[in-house]
Symmetry: C2
Subunit: 351 residues, 2 copies
Amino acid sequence: MASHGARGRSGGRPTLEEVAARAGVGRGTVSRVINGSPRVSDATRAAVEAAVAELGYVPNTAARALAANRTDAIALVVPEPETRFFAEPYFSDMLRGVGAELSDTEMQLLLIFAGSDRERQRLAQYLAAHRVDGVLLVSVHADDPLPDLLAQLEIPAVISGPRSAAETLTSVDSDNYGGGRAAVEHLLAGGRRTIAHITGRLDVYGAQRRVDGYRDALRDAGHGVDELLIEPGDFTEEGGRRAMSVLLDRYPALDAVFAGSDVTAAGARQVLREAGRRIPDDVALVGYDDSAIARHMDPPLTSVRQPIVEMGRAMIDLLLAEIADRRPAVSRGLERRHAVLPAELVVRASS
Amino acid sequence: MASHGARGRSGGRPTLEEVAARAGVGRGTVSRVINGSPRVSDATRAAVEAAVAELGYVPNTAARALAANRTDAIALVVPEPETRFFAEPYFSDMLRGVGAELSDTEMQLLLIFAGSDRERQRLAQYLAAHRVDGVLLVSVHADDPLPDLLAQLEIPAVISGPRSAAETLTSVDSDNYGGGRAAVEHLLAGGRRTIAHITGRLDVYGAQRRVDGYRDALRDAGHGVDELLIEPGDFTEEGGRRAMSVLLDRYPALDAVFAGSDVTAAGARQVLREAGRRIPDDVALVGYDDSAIARHMDPPLTSVRQPIVEMGRAMIDLLLAEIADRRPAVSRGLERRHAVLPAELVVRASS
DNA sequence: AGGTACCGTGGGAGCGCTCCCACCGGTGAT
DNA sequence: ATCACCGGTGGGAGCGCTCCCACGGTACCT
């Protein structure tokens, strides 16, 4: 419709061609300027930039994607909504980090849900069609086929929360081991002796690492590790209640509990209170995640904070690096990177 | 590289042309089948579909976007991260609704942050370049220029939480008036007589409506409205503490508080407890949002639940309708739509 | 019989960009 | 002076699709 001369076509955004005409140069030169190529003289560059500004030129992403066979988009793939990822503060914080780091680039962020089978199928098509340059993966189950699919398609990907110590994907994680250690060391320092641990879901690698931290902290302090003080939980409140009841039956005299999540701690707290235990006088309680619940609990809950915003940033950094490394399509041999960011104990009144 | 015959080019996804060759038809026919045009014979359609399946053909979005001048993408624009939107459960729930409704379509979801000036500038360019077919707007301040920009660019948009009763954009909201009413009616039914209200930020329309609901509930029950029982808050915990102190000084005998958010209620609860008031025995407490905090508070907090997942769904529905209406570019005259979804009181031990 | 209509179809043109090759003129080496 | 070279540039080709026009064929009218 109305494909006339220079400008002002109906709703018409200016094209490269029009910028070139305006600046009195060729199309290729404008493209070079836009893409920051060094092989342009300063005078020409200035002229082009002026034309770009005057016309309010914005490159057409679709055309660029088509011609260059890249998308300038990355996807954040969110597995089923029941996962911990959707729990506060995980989701929003990570998104904050991702968004902050992305705002320096031209990359756009796609949110893709992979809950239902239909959604997963769509996702597979999506990836097969290479509609994104890279993928951010969060809270993936150990047996999820997605990582393998990504590897096979050779799509750069970064996973938050590695699935195991042998994670093949580039990963970002917080120091769950150190977090677990810090929690227990804090309790020991407070004079606690019988410290129970309600774990997270043990098919989650991070939960395992917290248990490792718990064990080593006790061991290194010269205490033995009583496996009966370790009761499996599942990150939920109900799981916390259940585990706490078991532990209380088993060790009526326990004087501290390290819970695998704040929500779990909330469940444990209920059972402790019903059993007449005072917090922190009789039993000290430490959670994990430093969520809103921890701050508002009564008493406020000591908890291990993960640097989730920074983890989001780190994921983007690593992903962009992988994408950049891949572009020349030559120098493979990029060794897998695993970033581990420190966790921090936030001490409150519960311990 | 290796641009040979039909399939199996290195990483090569099949093109329309290849599907056409395989099915023994022309390019245009395949395009018609892909796009569900009715003007294709059943036999031809079947042949094409078979070829599509055999080749694993997936349309190239970039090419389609370029040729058809549409993007099949919508953006969810998130203003500064400090807003309530990032609070649990808002964000994740709304995303759940949006994602669920979107999974039936070909549309993809872009997440765009518009916090910093730089980000906002990028967003403006983005929109100017018409890189999305529609926009979802959440928790927009009353004086934000974004809605006007969208209107001016004629980009379909839906806002959650209208800025005022005169919202010009299509909007989705929960029934804040009804929610406020329900909270107060519940307290009255429980025999409470001196009911205070700690408001949300009154530049947020929804917070105003909750106050309206509070007033009308009292009025309709034959009680007068004492404006001194209404103390402005700002959705924060600190604001809740502050307002509660003021109210307690003013009305030591108050027996109920309706707080503008759960977090506000948490702040109020602290002050009440420090003042020796028991909940719910001396003072009943009701919050708003039904967040995780409400469930885990001690005692668990009665709160008004907004159907956020459904709001997300509704936003997508309305947005897709607007986009569809716009496509023919003829029949304007679409009247603005404003969906209001019911809020629900979740009664717990605090009242 | 010829005319008109319309359905189903093929394929040209073109969307706006990147990539790359060819070309120009100015250097420095020979 | 001659040649190779290189920085800077212009513009053709083509990415994979949609849009639309034109075409053959059948069916139905007059």
